[in-house]
Amino acid sequence: MERRYIASRIAQTIITLYAVLTLMWVLFRLVPGDPTAMFLSGRLSPEDVEAIRKLWGLDQPLHVQYFKYMKNLSMGDLGISFSYREPVLKVMLPALFNTLILMIPSILMAIVVGTLMGTNLGWKRGSARERIGVVLSLFVRSFPVFLTGIIVLMIFVHLLGWFPLGGMRTIGAFGLSWWERFLDVSHHLALPFGVAFLYYVGDVVVISRTSMLEMIGEEFLQFAKARGLSDKKVKKIAMRNAIIPVITYSTILIGFAFGGQVLLEVVFAWPGVGRLMVNSVQIHDYPVAQAAFFLMATAVIIANLLVDFSYGYLDPRISIQKR
């Protein structure tokens, strides 16, 4: 790949990120309400409110606030959370970790299983299995996460009692070994993982099936068959070609994983980024909300960048050339 292309693409990414940051900064200031409102107003005297505003730098003109924010951010300082009174990173990182151990495995599994299922369904076009598979994947796909979540909670927690109701760890369990802690978290993780998997796998199945359908009747497959390649090998060639759009979609899906799944995290009381983000917006905790949105935007934008770079490898017909 050409170096100049990579450089210009990275420059573009930086500009995009800057635009996202600015836009978010402006948007949060446009939202009606005030960070001090979380102190249950009424009981605060106007002087106290003014003092807090001054402490947080909210009394300064907007453009001063903006430049200060940008300056601090450029030095890696995301600020201090209004509500937690702690550096934003210290609030964000544990939540991000929690989100990722839920989202990354479920999305990866959805991609692998979904691609295998989808390409197989596409290959067996017109069979009864294909029709059932498509209906089923559309069905799980169109079920809202909170509904699936509640149904799953009812069956596996309420009726069967196999799994804990929510959260990430058993409350009050101390002195566990590393291995016991791992088992405990896995036990809590199982249900939200399953629900997230079901939600994401539908789209992957549908996309990879469609992509595979487009392969059927391709001359290079017929030619491969004419060359005496077995059906299995021909199918492999079809899958290799069909997988390209799936990879695009998957990478972007992983980008979104950094933002968490708000509904899922609420239903299963999972202490992730999604909940943190919604919470911060509600109480006007600008530093945390901005950081959370910034993180998600960065992940999606970088995922897009990686997709662009991977295309040259995935599909040799796409080459990057100077115009």
């Binding site: 290079f220 005496g228 290799r240 070609n241 017909r317």
Partner: protein, 349 residues
């Protein structure tokens, strides 16, 4: 080209009374209707006819690569004395390419776009070898093949899109002869190419046939290409073989009005003043059940019998066969057909 008449032993491939049906939205269309021909060792035969006459379907039927709505409705395909028309998929996988290979019409789409040509060639070898040669040996073999068809050996590591149309067709020809098959079916190998490339590819096929003794079935709508490399020809119309035999006999003294029309429809450099004709009308619908001769609707010499009775294929002379009710008037027809349909070549009127 009548299979039964020939000596069985020197016959490489015999197609005997081949019938292919296509399921088409409720109706059944017969794309190939009782076609018989034979291919001798080292021989090059041409199948000509317009689009939809069933030429390519014959190729697919021989290789058992018919689309899912197509099926063999009768007849046999005998390769070296074995009837392969009833072979299973696994048995066919061994026949395909090792015994019968294919040069496709559109080399552009026939090669896998995301795989290097080298690995596509190597995988073809590997599919047919029980104990495989080393990759290096195979690669070297493939590079030799590349040189044989006039491509530089280093280009083997390219992707298909890095090749021009002519180069791609050369690459598929290199692939087609890789396993030294007894029969190469070339399905309109030059249709997608410009005239210069056409000439080069034809020369390449010709040299393969003459120098390497490769037997070729050339499928085309261009009788001038057939005339260049084939010893024998079969003229197809609406799924039937209307006339066949030695190329000089068929084209110099055609007995079927369709062959006469086809011949007169192509201009030649030698006869610039020649009158070109076009036959009005179009072939019958695939789904139409034909009572009589398939050409009777368009034939200017058609009589009542032609509409009613399917003509038998008769032997005019050695290696010249025609399916027409009115062969005794052929000489008169040859003259009249120009007058009936004649339009002057542009610039000559």
């Amino acid at each position: 080209m009548q299979a039964a008449i020939e000596n069985e032993n020197e016959m490489l491939l015999q197609v005997d009374d081949l019938k292919v049906d296509y399921q088409m939205e409720g109706a059944v269309g017969r794309a190939v209707d009782g076609v018989s021909f034979a291919l001798r060792k080292g021989e090059c035969i041409g199948l000509v006819g317009e689009s939809g006459s069933g030429k390519s379907t014959i190729a697919k039927a021989i290789l058992k690569l018919l689309p899912s709505n197509g099926a063999l409705a009768g007849g046999r395909v005998i390769l070296k004395g074995r009837d392969i028309s009833h072979f299973t998929e696994e048995e066919m996988d061994a026949i395909r390419w090792a015994e019968i290979s294919l040069v496709p019409q559109s080399a552009m789409n026939a090669l896998n776009p995301v795989q290097r040509i080298s690995s596509q060639m190597v995988e073809t070898f590997l599919a047919h070898q029980a104990k495989a040669d080393s990759r290096k040996t195979l690669l070297d073999k493939c590079q030799q093949l590349f040189e044989m068809v006039g491509l530089s050996r280093n280009r083997i590591f390219d992707y298909p899109h890095q090749f021009s149309g002519g180069m791609r067709q050369r690459a598929t020809i290199a692939m087609a002869i890789a396993l030294e098959p007894s029969v190469v079916i070339a399905d309109e190998p030059t249709t997608a190419l410009d005239v210069i490339m056409q000439a080069q590819i034809i020369n390449l096929l010709k040299s393969l046939s003459e120098d390497k003794g490769v037997s070729i079935i050339l499928i085309t709508h261009d009788i001038s290409i057939v005339a260049q490399i084939c010893q024998r020809v079969g003229v197809m119309y609406a799924g039937r073989l209307v006339e066949s035999g030695d190329i000089l006999k068929v084209f110099n003294n055609p007995f079927h009005p369709y062959t006469m029309g086809l011949k007169a429809a192509f201009p030649t450099i030698k006869e610039l003043k020649k009158t070109l004709i076009s036959i009005p009308g179009s072939p019958p619908l695939l789904t139409k059940r034909l009572e009589g001769c398939c050409f009777s609707d368009r034939c200017p010499f058609s009589i009542e019998q032609c509409q009613r009775v399917i003509p038998h294929t008769v032997t005019i002379r050695e290696d010249h066969y025609v399916a027409c009710h009115r062969i005794e008037y052929a000489e008169r027809f040859r003259k009249e057909i120009i007058d009936i349909f004649g339009t002057r070549v542009r610039g000559q009127s």
